[in-house]
Symmetry: C2
Subunit: 353 residues, 2 copies
Amino acid sequence: MSEAPARNGVAAFVQPHRMMADGLPYADVVDVLERAETLDEWCDFWEAKGREYEALGDEALELGLEPTAGEYLWLASMCVHYAAHMAFEDSERRDAGQREKVRVYDRAAPYLVPSAERVGVGVDGITIPGMLRVPVGATGPVPWVVLIGGLESTKEESYLVENRFLANGVATFSFDGPGQGEAYFERRLVPDFERYTSAILDHFAEHPALDGDRVAVFGRSLGGHYALRAAAADDRFRASVCWGGCYDMTDFDAWPPMLKIGFAYVAGRSIEDTREFLLETHTLDGLAERLTAPVLAVQGRHDEIFTMRQVDKFATLPNVEILVEQDGNHCCHNRAHVVRPRMIDWTIRALRA
Amino acid sequence: MSEAPARNGVAAFVQPHRMMADGLPYADVVDVLERAETLDEWCDFWEAKGREYEALGDEALELGLEPTAGEYLWLASMCVHYAAHMAFEDSERRDAGQREKVRVYDRAAPYLVPSAERVGVGVDGITIPGMLRVPVGATGPVPWVVLIGGLESTKEESYLVENRFLANGVATFSFDGPGQGEAYFERRLVPDFERYTSAILDHFAEHPALDGDRVAVFGRSLGGHYALRAAAADDRFRASVCWGGCYDMTDFDAWPPMLKIGFAYVAGRSIEDTREFLLETHTLDGLAERLTAPVLAVQGRHDEIFTMRQVDKFATLPNVEILVEQDGNHCCHNRAHVVRPRMIDWTIRALRA
C-alpha cells in the first residue's frame, strides 16, 4: 500500500490517494498533511477551504462563468465532505458537515456540465435523495447507472465517476441510501438495502431519458456489497460492479477502532450490536444464487478493510469476473487512474451488450 | 515555494505541482519522487509509464472505448514528455523524447473529446505544427485562443487548459513555435516569434469554425513573453495573457545552470551567445507601446525564473492587469487549481466583451 504516510494523529483516516482521485487539489492535500495533527485541525483546514472555494464559485457566478462556478461549488462541497467525513466521535461536527456538504453541492448542481437534478424517491415513508445527470445532447433514452456510496462516501463524491460515464453517453443516478449522507438523518443502516435500489428502478421506469432495459448498479466499498444485493434481488439490473466491497462482514473483528465506531454510528447501535447486525444481515448467503447479470468485483490485494478472504467468496458468485489489483489498497484508490476507468468501461460494455 | 521536496539528484528540475496540474497521476508522481535518483532513472520511469498507458489506450481501442483510449494515449504522451523534457545534456534522449511524444499524442488526437486536428501553418519555408480543437456541438464561428508553450512545455501539455476553454465554448489552437517541441528540429529560437503568431491568424482568417474578431493569445512561461509580443505586433489579438512569463531576460544571470543550458539548447547557441541573444532580442522595449488589447500578467511572488522585477516592468504596459499570487512559484503551478481557472476565465470574459 503506497498511501503517502500521514505524519500525525490524523493518520487513522487520512487517505491522500482517495482524496486525489476524488478531485481534491494536490496543493491542499500536501498542505493538510503537513499541517493537521488533530481531527480539529483537519476539520478546520477543510472547512476553511470549503469557504474559500464557495467564494470563488460565487465570484464566477457574478461574472457569468457558470462552468467555473459549478466546479468550485462542487469542490467546496468536497472540502466540506472531507472535513468531517470520519468525525464519528464528534457527532455535532459530523452531522453539521453532512448538511453543509449537501447545501453547497445543491448550489453546484445546476452549473455542473451536465447539470445534476435532485430527485427524491419515496421508500417506506422516507424520501431517498439522489442526483440525476443525463449526458449533454442526449436525445432519446440512454443507458444509465445507479451509483452507491459506502460507509462515509456519499452521492456528492461520485461526481468524477459520473463524469466518465456521462462522457460515454451513460446517464447517472447517485443517491444516499440508509445510513449514508443526508439519508442518515432519516434512516440508519437497514438489512435490506436492495429494496431501496429496486424502488429507484420503479421510480424511473417511465422516465423518457433513461432506458429501462440498460441499467447497471455500481457500488463503492460498503456500497459494493449493496450493489451485489441490488442485482441479486432485481434482474432489471443488467450488470453490477462491486468496487472494493464485500461478500459479508467477516472482516469486522480485525478492523481498527475508528472503522467499528463509524459503522456503529451509521447503524445507530452499539459496537457490539452493530457487529452482530452486520454479520447476520450483511451477507450474500441466500442471495448470491439469484444473481443472473454479469458481476465485476474489484479488490486491492492490500485492502485492510475488506480483505482477500472476500475474493474467495466472490469466486462463488455466478457470472463473476474478479479483478485483483496486486498493489491496490482499499478500493484501489492508489491505482485509481487505472482501476476506475477499467471498472467504468466494463460497465459501459456490459450495457452495450 | 511549497513544491514538495525531491529527495535526490533530480531535484534540479522536478516540479510535482506542475506535473499534477498538467494531469500526471498522483500515484506515479509519488512513486517517481521516491524512486528516481538520477536523470536516467527518471527517464526510464516515465518512459515505462508511457508504454504502460499506451498499451491501456490500445486495449481501450480494441474494446471500442474511444474516450478512454484518447485519455490514455494523451496520458502516455505526457509521460514521454516528462521523461526527457529537461534532458538538455543528453540530446539523443531529449530529441527522441520529443519525437516519441508527438507520435503518441497524434494517436490520441482523434479520440480526444473534442478531437484535435493537426494543422500545419507555413512560415518562412517551414511548417509550424499545431492542434486545433473546436467545442463539441459548435455550429457557427466561435471565439478562439492561440496557446503558446514555453522553454520545454509544448502543445501537447496544453490539453487540460484547452479543455477548460472548450467547456466554455472557446476553440483552441496550441502549437510549437521556433525552439519548441517538434518545431525545434526545424528552427531554433527566433528574435521575432510574433511573426509566427500572426501567420496563424492569417492561416485561419477564413476558417468557418473560428471567429476572427474574437481571438486571444495565451502563453506560458517563455510563451508568456511571446504572447505579449504577439498582441503588440498584431491588433487582431483582442486580449493576451502572460502566464508566468517575462518582459525581458534580465533575470538570466541568476538562473541555475540547467536553465541556462536549456535555453542554449533551444537557441542552438553557446550559453554566452544565448545570453546576449536573449537580452538583446527578448525584450518588449520598443514593442510594448503598441499593445492595444487588454493584457493579463500572472506572476508568482516566489518565482525564481522570472522574478518580481518583471512585475515592475509589466506595470508599464498599457491596459494591463497584474495578478501576483503571494504563495505562487513559477507559473503559480502550486496554485494551479485557483490560478488556471482565473486566467482562463479572464480570457473568456475578454473575448465576450
